[in-house]
């Protein structure tokens, strides 16, 4: 009769997997959930593709230095893709999970809390890699963007993307504490991302924006991710057309790293597992 329920006292001495191992299996589960949720797929992966197609067909022009506006724009959209998968995605998803009580259920288990965040990071890394690959493939196929031709550029591409997506992820997790309920989350998050895209050199060439707008944008990560990616995909001569007449890669690294630290501190201080009790 009681094959299922053996003596609880005589439990096997088998050890529970560690936080990293559990985090990875949470990541796999998160990816399954992501892939099965149509709104996430549409918003995170399909939406940027549509924007690129529409804007790419509707607008033409020159960003100067032999670079077309579409090339400038599509590079900015790859940066926006990182913002969408890291920041927007988590800032919307986590409050929904919190309101639904999923987080409460998880903290009721012996799951190490870090496993939850590792799972989210795994999901963001995989989805952002997919998003980047799709947008990059489109950019190369339709808009004449060249893939990096030196190891140095590939390396820059790798660290800018990784540092950028890390900053966005941590900020997304931190920002998720602001929404009081899951229902409030999308309307609190989407406008922020949209405004950042307008002022950070995605839809408009950054140097063409009013100075005060540039200054606001320079405070946030998106501007620096986009600038770092331009150094990878746009010709070397274009550097002279940036605000500082160079790519400022050192500053890109510095600002993004600072946001990672700030994001991490905010996460640790503010993260809530339940709506207020």
């Amino acid at each position: 009769m009681s094959t299922v329920v053996d003596q609880p006292v005589a439990r096997a001495a088998r050890r529970r997997p560690g936080a990293l191992s559990l985090g990875l299996s949470r990541g796999a589960l998160e990816l399954k959930q992501f892939a099965r949720t149509r709104p996430y797929l549409i918003f995170t992966l399909l939406f940027p593709v549509l924007i690129v197609l529409i804007f790419g067909a509707a607008f033409h022009g020159d960003a100067g230095g032999g670079v077309s506006w579409t090339q400038y724009f599509v590079t900015g959209m790859i940066a926006s893709g990182l913002l969408a998968t890291g920041f927007q995605n988590l800032a919307i998803q986590i409050p929904i999970e919190r309101s639904r009580g999923v987080l409460k259920r998880l903290v009721g288990t012996p799951m190490p809390r870090s496993a939850y965040f590792i799972g989210k990071i795994v999901m963001v890394l995989v989805v952002s890699a997919i998003s980047t690959a799709i947008l990059l493939a489109m950019a190369v196929a339709f808009y004449g963007l060249a893939l990096p031709d030196t190891a140095t550029k590939w390396f820059t591409f790798a660290w800018v993307s990784l540092l950028g997506v890390t900053a966005c992820t941590l900020l997304g997790i931190a920002y998720s504490s602001l929404a009081r309920t899951g229902r409030a989350a999308p309307s609190m998050t989407t406008p922020v991302a949209l405004v950042l895209q307008f002022i950070s050199g995605v839809f408009f060439v950054y140097t063409g924006l009013p100075g005060w707008m540039q200054q606001i944008a320079a405070f946030f990560p998106l501007k620096w991710i986009a600038q770092g990616l331009r150094s990878v995909f746009l010709p070397e001569e274009f550097a002279a057309r940036e605000v500082a007449h160079s790519w400022e890669l050192g500053r890109v690294a510095l600002v993004l790293a600072a946001w990672c630290v700030a994001g991490l501190i905010l996460c640790l201080l503010t993260f809530r597992w339940t709506d207020k009790d």
Binding site: S2, V4, D6, P8, R11, V102, T109, P110, D277
Partner: protein
């Protein structure tokens, strides 16, 4: 001095031995939400291995109490020990000994039953076999269905599966059978009895008095955040000694008599009817009758006090 210390140590040891035998001990528990006092000086002691049912009307403070014991809510006052630990300081080791089925929880909508149960099994060192647990809660046919596609009662069974997957020493069940069909409820009772037979301590809340009667070693009735009665189901409200009602079909319609000596009444009736008494029943108040009277009395005395 030395003897004093020795005496003190012995006292301590006795106290420890007593509390060690308690899975749950609560003294003077208080919790208010703004001006609503949800739990108002509650005492509770549940020994290891007991099945304890907490009864009480909506808003009585059952969920608040249970969630404080689970470490989800902070008490405003009182002393709480669950498996020897203050649940506010819950560690993973403590969590692995405690199983929880909340009154309302989020589902993992896009995942299948099997995916969720197998995943949760990884959180516990001493986890049970996930497929056996799925079978035990009657979800084998639905193992590959997504959680969002389950019926209400099936979702609840998944909650129960996740509560017991870690083979807990102590299991909290907050209205576990809400939405179960009668057959599912009986199967669930069987599951609880097996768990109890294996030594699991169980604290459950329910609005079904038959459930409390079928499962619980002791029941506690809580009203307005206070424990108003605490007894075995058979003894609650002095039910065992309550007057019985003998009813039968008389020549002019149904008749009945309340008595302390039902056997004598039946014997007299048998003589009067010269054999079989038509429509004969002998009843004592059901747990539900006693419970309702108790809740009613409590509400009245509160009004008088106000």
């Amino acid at each position: 001095m030395k003897t004093l210390i020795r005496i003190f140590r012995r006292e301590r040891a006795i106290v420890d031995a007593v509390t060690e035998n308690l899975a749950i001990s609560v003294r003077g528990l208080r919790k208010a939400y703004g001006r609503t006092v949800a739990v108002d000086g509650l005492d509770l002691a549940i020994p290891r291995g007991e099945v304890f049912a907490l009864l009480g009307p909506n808003g009585a403070g059952k969920t608040t109490t249970v969630e404080i014991l689970e470490g989800f809510r902070r008490a405003d006052g009182g002393e709480v020990r669950v498996l020897g630990t203050d649940p506010r300081n819950a560690t993973p080791a403590w969590r692995s000994r405690v199983g929880i089925v909340l009154q309302s929880t989020g589902e993992f909508e896009e995942l299948t039953v099997a995916e969720v149960v197998h995943h949760f099994a990884r959180y516990y060192a001493g986890a049970d076999d996930p497929d056996k647990v799925i079978d035990r809660v009657g979800l084998t046919e639905k193992r590959d269905a997504r959680a969002e596609k389950l019926s209400g009662g099936q979702k609840r069974r998944l909650d129960v599966a996740l509560g017991i997957i870690g083979r807990p020493e102590l299991l909290f069940l907050d209205e576990p059978t809400t939405g179960f069909d009668p057959e599912a409820r009986r199967e669930f009772w069987g599951l609880i009895r097996d768990l109890a037979a294996a030594g699991t301590t169980i604290l459950l809340t329910t609005h079904y008095l038959d459930e409390a009667e079928a499962l619980a070693d002791r029941v506690g009735v809580i009203a307005r955040g206070r424990m108003v009665a605490l007894a075995t189901p058979a003894e609650l409200g002095d039910r065992r000694n309550a007057m019985a009602t003998v009813s039968w079909q008389g020549p002019n319609g149904p008749e009945s008599e309340r008595t302390n000596a039902p056997t004598a009444v039946v014997a007299a009736l048998a003589e009067r009817f010269g054999g079989e008494v038509p429509g004969l029943t002998v009843t004592r108040p059901t747990l539900e009758d006693v419970y309702l009277a108790m809740i009613d009395k409590n509400a009245i005395s509160k009004e008088e006090a106000a």
